[in-house]
Symmetry: D3
Subunit: 237 residues, 6 copies
């Protein structure tokens, strides 16, 4: 029995609320249960120096967590003077995931920066961030289309993410914090709308796991992400 009484293949309640910050070209407040992330997409007419003059744009991401998003207060990174290794890993993952489904030539020489700020954390902040980021990104691109800034199709597919793990010997979908801290194994999957893999990260928290266990997690992820992609499509419809 999961602490949340969910079935092994059951997501937490997921909501994707658009247009939550009045200035941003795209924004989304994504909730996976008690995990709440505020995502904004910012369009800027500038590029990283190494990309200038190549006829292509760029999509990048930054991630942060409010100090009291967690059960114990975490030190504010701005005050500590540096981002933690965990923060750096997560924001690189979000950026890579989004770029895979964006046609950077069609975007033109512009940069979209996606900011994912966790207001409340109950496990799965990186997967909620990626899932909500697609919505904010889609809205930003619609904002550009409405102004005739782009001609070709920029978004090639959806992208969403979910975590899975082995909890008490059973593969389960969408770990919350209580499950995550007890799980033997933890894997994050980032998939496209058509079910292909963008990124897989599986980590043995205590015991190494077998290839069969890994395949069971991947099957759960396929199912959960199909559901998330449906919700994304509803949200932007």
């Amino acid at each position: 029995m999961r602490p949340s009484r969910r079935a092994p293949d059951e997501l937490r309640p997921v909501t994707l609320e658009r247009g939550v910050v009045k200035y941003a070209e795209g924004s989304c407040l994504v909730k996976f249960g008690d995990t709440h992330v505020l995502v904004t997409a910012t369009l800027e007419d500038r590029l990283p120096p190494w990309l200038k003059g190549q006829g292509r744009g760029w999509v990048t991401a930054e991630y942060g967590m409010l100090p009291r998003a967690t059960s114990e207060r975490t030190r504010r990174e701005a005050s500590a003077g540096k981002q933690s290794g965990r923060t750096v890993e997560i924001q690189r993952l979000i950026g890579r995931s989004l770029r895979t489904i964006v046609d950077l030539e069609a975007l033109g020489e512009r940069q979209i920066t996606v900011d994912c700020d966790v207001l409340q954390a109950d496990g799965g902040t990186r997967t909620a961030s990626i899932t909500g980021a697609w919505v904010a990104l889609a809205d930003c691109i619609n904002w550009m289309k409405a102004r005739n800034m782009i001609k070709a199709k920029v978004l090639r597919d959806n992208v969403a993410a979910i975590s899975c793990g082995i909890y008490n010997g059973t593969p389960v979908l969408d770990l919350d914090y209580a499950e995550d801290s007890e799980a033997q194994t933890d894997a994050n999957f980032v998939l496209t709308g058509d079910g292909r893999i963008i990124e897989v990260q599986g980590t043995a928290e205590r015991e190494p796991f077998t290839q069969d266990e890994f395949l069971a997690l991947m099957a759960l992820a396929q199912k959960g992400i199909a559901r998330l992609v449906d919700l994304q499509k509803l949200a932007v419809a």
Copy 2:
């Protein structure tokens, strides 16, 4: 005529929503019109080293702004590796303001950290932060009372803050961003529930101002803060 069509002595719509972050001992989402600040109060059993063993507690504050809280995206301070001078000024002001109305002996050897994170900025983020911080702090202290952690009265009074300025030659209350960027003069007032002054900061943005002009701003502030204190009392009632 103000851009917002408000009367000179009219506040923006103000709301103070409690209990918005499930982990925090106290929290408040404060809105002054389109300025939205998420405030949490965290209780910890530790003290700054220089305060240990003196039988007194401490209240401190940190302030941050999400990168896209503003019309143009601002660089993330955690990524820049330091807090700006403006951020440092504001968080010191919030901390000083709160400490003035707290009985630190009655609090005992504990620290309360108040985090003010601006989700959306339309002028007056520091005054909204202070006003909301009092609510989060009051809830944190009630949380302690419910657990018999304190005996004497810890909060000696309310504290709230508002900005005033001279816009197009007229003294006006509670500047929004459109007014703030055009105002000749800008002052922030932090007052107690009984109308005494905790902090006054008046700055000539372009032209120096006279003592009479300053007194007109102070009169507006007295009126606006009385209204904010009423709202605080309703919120925690």
Copy 3:
């Protein structure tokens, strides 16, 4: 009775010695009693990037304190790797105060940097800095006039600053360290030569104060600053 046996409205002995650093376009060693600040004004043919090509100049300030300017040695900020929040607040105040009385168009596309370095601190270092900075700035501008670099009037007025506070229940002028550390209330006033307000900062150190108390402090400041402005005029005559 004040520890220094001064009358409530009596300044410490103030001296403004010009030309103390041979390289600087303007310089002033300002003393308010035992508070000694070395101020230099540096003219440079460069501007902050965001100001280029607008036909206007800029005046900025930096503040520092020698490690043993204080009773206990303070850690050297260059060695700590960052300026403290207090330093940042003070140098921003000095810069804003000077810019208010400078005609930046008349200055032309140049920057003047005013460095205020405290050699010995006995309270009031920020007010002494502003008062001395005006002298260094005036000398720098005279240096430019002598070389036909400017045509119109650049300095529109004098600027000087003083602190006041309530000590043992009595409003007093120009707090030294012994008074400052005991005062209930502390306010800094930055005024022009004609008595208008550039900046007011009043802080309740322990007890909030009333509007009447604040007006008493402002009256003292008006008197003290009139005296400082006379001394500035004598110094540059």
Copy 4:
């Protein structure tokens, strides 16, 4: 045809040279073709603060690259003042991988720090680092056994790592730089001596990949790592 003319399932020439730094408790110069990494294992009688007094030890890793290990010189991280996101990711991966096969209780309250410094880089520096780190770690533990510092078995298994990718449509083993920069997909596998998974990281560099493609990569990795584990056993025999 691979640029290196290797068969799809062929490793580069691998050598594991022990005892290369005279001071270290364990050390290994690992070469995967032209990728050369110098690994040392340092035993220290101290622990991270959060682990003290729990009867368990710790294994951690740091990673670095000499500036001219690469084709173009890379900026020295010590001079830049921070480690890059890539460096942080890699050293966290190495540390996690090693800890999974170490019995931290049997190690006792001590820390082993594994330093992996890349002398020359031609792709696969993280997998070479992990593979060589196991040898340095094993030598460090043998050093402790020879001094009767440990009683129970500390190393529960071998650990080795390899990268695989899809190059020109074909799944291949152990990518060198020329292949890595052209590959559509890139995955790193960290496995135990008995073939279980410690960590999997698969990333679509351009096109998302299918589950079948991923399984093909995993099959290659199983084969390559079995060969690396044989070499490790030979090295420490």
Copy 5:
């Protein structure tokens, strides 16, 4: 002919003014011509962690330069966020030089920190700093003696420093900035009162120099430092 019209073996006018900062246990304003350095010696009842409990004290030094001490304004190190390589080199030299003539056992478990802050720089700031630092240190030790804090002799000898160089083919003593920037060779000598060597640093600025040239510089230094030691003895008499 030297730009300053001095004879080759002639020092600039040197003054050593004691007691210039009221809080410091020892202080000295040292002038070598237009090079002015404010030196303070601070006594503290603490030690670097690695020195605790060994029955010995420590003497350390920090060096800084006011931004406009130089002909062109130099960036403030506190604002740049780090000390330059040159600053680090100089303060390490000052500290080493002083420690050589201090009996650290006789000092007891205390630290003296010597701060050398250059108010105006015209060449030779490090040699003026060392020469003045001895005076501030001597006064600090006298302050301790007057309070019966030390019993044995702490200062074993004088220490003073001077620069020499080859200017227009002639070895000259005590280079000022005009000479220093033109000299082929530049050497700094730190000697004891009895003429022994504490530190020698000779650098070929353009052309390597011969051993005979170096010996000529050392003979000049011996002569100049004997004169500086006489001035130190007069100053503290």
Copy 6:
């Protein structure tokens, strides 16, 4: 008797192995006994900003030490976030020493960066670095000649370095760590192929030393460096 049983004027076994890093324009693994330094020379078509457009090139150096190059592990500077004062001193010395023998006009508007990374340290890392750096630099310049990038002679002479010290009252050549930590006096000499002085640094570790002692050290250095220069000539022949 020296701990290493060497004669007072005997170098440790010295080897200079070229071409050890496949990407670098020049490289050298230099060994002075158990001190091993990997040196690379990198040619780049860029210059420090202050040198642009003057028809001259630049040679600079960076120095680092692997964490376990030493008997006790040293903290990694990249992780600490800054280079130590010792590192800064050494890399400045290496750069200055090399520039003295390079014709920067003949080099043209290019920069050569020499990286010296200590793999194992047993005393004398800075002198080994300089000695090996000359070999890497010579190879880099030969690489340029082979591509017709330079016409005139760039290297004007050899440069090599050695340490000397007074150990147990006897002047000895080429101190290893065991001697260095016991020596009363320590001096580093950087000389040209024709025996002239580029840099001398002599430091009394405990007792000041006499001019005669210093001359004895210099005589040893002359002898040792002549031998090193012979080895350099053999290496590049």
